[in-house]
């Protein structure tokens, strides 16, 4: 039916298409993330201090949007007025901001990235309640357990979508035992979603060190046990497609307290200034196992 030349062209084009897709795959190793290579275990010297502050929001806060939960009656019944929580602003203060030490130099001139820290034995918790995640933002140390529970009268599916750690996707029926998950590589921040209820979102910061905090409803946060030294402190908040970051240099005195107040504004909320979160490169096609 087709001439020989037509068949040859069709075959060549199909082969070229497949080859171009396959060749753009690469065996990309996960990036190590902030924290640097493995190092010596950190030992407390008893002269640690704190970094505390408040996260504020200047200007008119973006209005929360109503979520349509009609696809699942159990969600509508438990949360009839579910709203988005990406910009939780109250009295000019911003909740759910992830604050962490990105890098820095201790008083003895060693780098914070030279140290390793033992993961806490207590698990961080992530609950699915009212068809939204609680807490909305949480931080863990690498290899620290995250205990995931389902408090809703419906099935959820918890899908961690990291860039530096293996993908993880599990379903959890109402009343099922808690699931446990941990990540071995530092990553700021890992989005978590539910494929059954696509409005559900959470973010998990996986840090090499325990020097992080999440701002409360009143915008306050405290990072404890920080060795004296000079640090780059980052405040990350979701918003737009990529999230927004603010950076500050902070000096922590021995047994003292440093203050780091951050302000996010209406312009940052609307434009979604690029953060240090890794983005899919424009022309790369990720290999299988990564999405």
């Amino acid at each position: 039916m087709f001439s020989k030349s037509a068949r040859l062209w069709l075959g060549l084009i199909a082969a070229a298409s497949l080859l171009s897709l396959a060749s753009s795959c690469s065996n990309k190793e996960p990036e190590p993330g902030p924290g640097g290579p493995e190092g010596k275990a950190y030992t407390s010297k008893g002269d640690e201090g704190t970094i505390s502050g408040k996260i504020s929001f200047t200007g008119a806060a973006p209005e929360a949007k109503k979520i349509d939960t009609s696809a699942d009656a159990a969600c509508t019944s438990k949360s009839p007025n579910l709203m988005t929580e990406d910009w939780a602003v109250k009295d000019g203060k911003l909740a759910n901001t992830f604050i962490y030490i990105k890098e820095g130099t201790l008083a003895d001139n060693s780098k914070i990235g030279d140290y390793t820290f033992t993961a806490p034995s207590a698990a961080a918790t992530l609950d699915q309640t009212g068809c939204h995640y609680k807490p909305h933002v949480v931080g863990v140390v690498v290899n620290q357990n995250i205990s995931i529970t389902n408090s809703d009268p419906t099935t959820h599916n918890i899908h961690f979508m990291p860039a530096n750690n293996p993908d993880w996707n599990q379903s959890q029926v109402n009343g099922a035992a808690a699931l446990t998950h941990k990540m071995a590589h530092a990553e700021v921040l890992v989005p978590v979603k539910c494929n059954q209820h696509p409005w559900m979102k959470s973010y998990v910061g996986v840090m090499k060190s325990p020097f992080f905090a999440v701002s409360a409803e009143d915008g306050s946060f405290t990072i404890k046990g920080v060795p004296p030294g000079k640090y780059t402190v980052v405040a990350w908040h979701e918003g737009g497609a990529k999230g927004t970051e603010k950076t500050m240099e902070v000096t922590v005195p021995a047994k003292g307290a440093a203050t780091a107040d951050f302000a996010f504004g209406a312009s940052a909320a609307l434009s979604g200034q690029p953060s240090s979160l890794p983005m899919l490169p424009a022309l790369e096609v990720p290999m299988p196992m990564k999405h």
Binding site: M1, F2, S3, S5, A6, W9, L10, I13, A14, S17, L21, A22, C25, K65, K66, I67, D68, A71, D72, A73, A74, C75, T84, T154, T155, N157, H159, D167, N169, Q170, S171, V173, K193, N195, Q196, H197, P198, W199, K201, G240, A241, K242, L280, P281, A282, L283, V285, P286, M287, P288, M289, K290, H291
Partner: protein
């Protein structure tokens, strides 16, 4: 010729088109992993169809139905069809739908890797093309074409243009599938792939446009060719408008709390219309090959 076979082939093609729409809904609603196991759903055949489980498992049920219809068609062709190559195409279609099912399972088992998801979307279109071709081959107008076979008119052979059009449409479909699966509704589309898909749209418009223009100028009196050409032209225009609308809606979706309309229906419509453009072009191509012949020496003359 069996009217029953032809009608059944049309039914299978129609059901496959419906399956493409069902599959596109899964992607646009971000329901791809709503059912995390395969081939069962939460260990059952029929889970509770709530939330995105409705879309994901619903599409699996439609796919199963299409699979059963394809088995029936292959057997029907084996029994009633005299032409061996048509019977073989029926079994090839069955192989295609089985491969498509396995690819779908692989997307779930591997948590939606981009290459497998894009391959699943592309094979869906190729399988649809196969069912459309079977409908063409079993039609009265193929077995007894209403016009006599004749030599191609001078110039670039229409058959060559048709094959070229099919090829660029296929490449554009691959680009579109890769683009769609490279970012979920709450992420921005990668700029490189987006520009590639837009460039592909321009190339498809030029090549398919030239093909349609060739039909309308050289064979304007032949409904056998002008009809699928005009249908392809109309669908191409609709597809271009849908493409622009889909881009606008998709660019805004990261600001939405969840996948919403019009983004959902416009992106689904864009996928479905792309399948119809592909189908109209294969009908034109098959008919061109059916009634047009090229002299043996014509290519040699053109090369010289």
């Amino acid at each position: 010729m069996s009217k029953g076979v032809h009608r059944f082939a049309l039914l299978v093609a129609g059901a496959t088109f419906f399956l493409i729409i069902a599959g596109a809904n899964v992607t646009s609603r971000d329901a791809g992993l709503a059912v995390p196991d395969w081939p069962l759903a939460f260990g059952q055949f029929f889970p509770k169809m709530v939330g995105n489980v409705f879309w994901e498992h619903g599409h699996r049920l439609v796919a199963t139905s299409v699979g059963i219809l394809t088995i029936a068609l292959a057997v029907y062709l084996q029994i009633r069809e005299r032409r061996g190559w048509v019977k073989r195409l029926g079994w090839i279609a069955l192989g295609g739908v089985i491969a498509q099912g396995l690819l779908g399972g692989l997307t779930v088992k591997l948590n939606l890797p981009l290459v497998v998801s894009a391959a699943h979307a592309t094979l869906a279109q190729l399988f649809f093309l196969t069912t459309v071709s079977l409908a063409v081959f079993t039609s009265r107008k193929w077995i007894e074409p209403p016009i006599e076979v004749r030599q191609e008119a001078p110039g670039v052979p229409l058959r060559t243009l048709c094959v070229f059009a099919l090829t660029v449409i296929l490449v554009q479909l691959v680009l579109g599938a890769t683009l769609r699966h490279s970012a979920t509704w709450d992420q921005t589309l990668p700029a490189g792939l987006l520009l590639g898909h837009i460039a592909g749209a321009i190339i498809v418009t030029l090549v398919l446009g030239a093909t349609i223009a060739t039909v309308l100028t050289r064979y304007r009196a032949e409904n056998y060719l002008t009809r699928p050409a005009l249908i392809a032209a109309g669908l191409l225009l609709v597809q271009l408008v849908l493409g622009i609308t889909a881009y606008i809606a998709r660019a805004a979706s990261p600001s939405d709390p969840q996948p919403l309309n019009p983004m959902i229906w416009v992106t689904v419509a864009h996928v479905a219309c792309g399948a119809l453009v592909f189908a109209a072009t294969i009908v034109l191509t098959l008919r061109a090959f059916r009634i047009l012949k090229v002299e043996r020496g014509a290519y040699a003359l053109a090369a010289a």
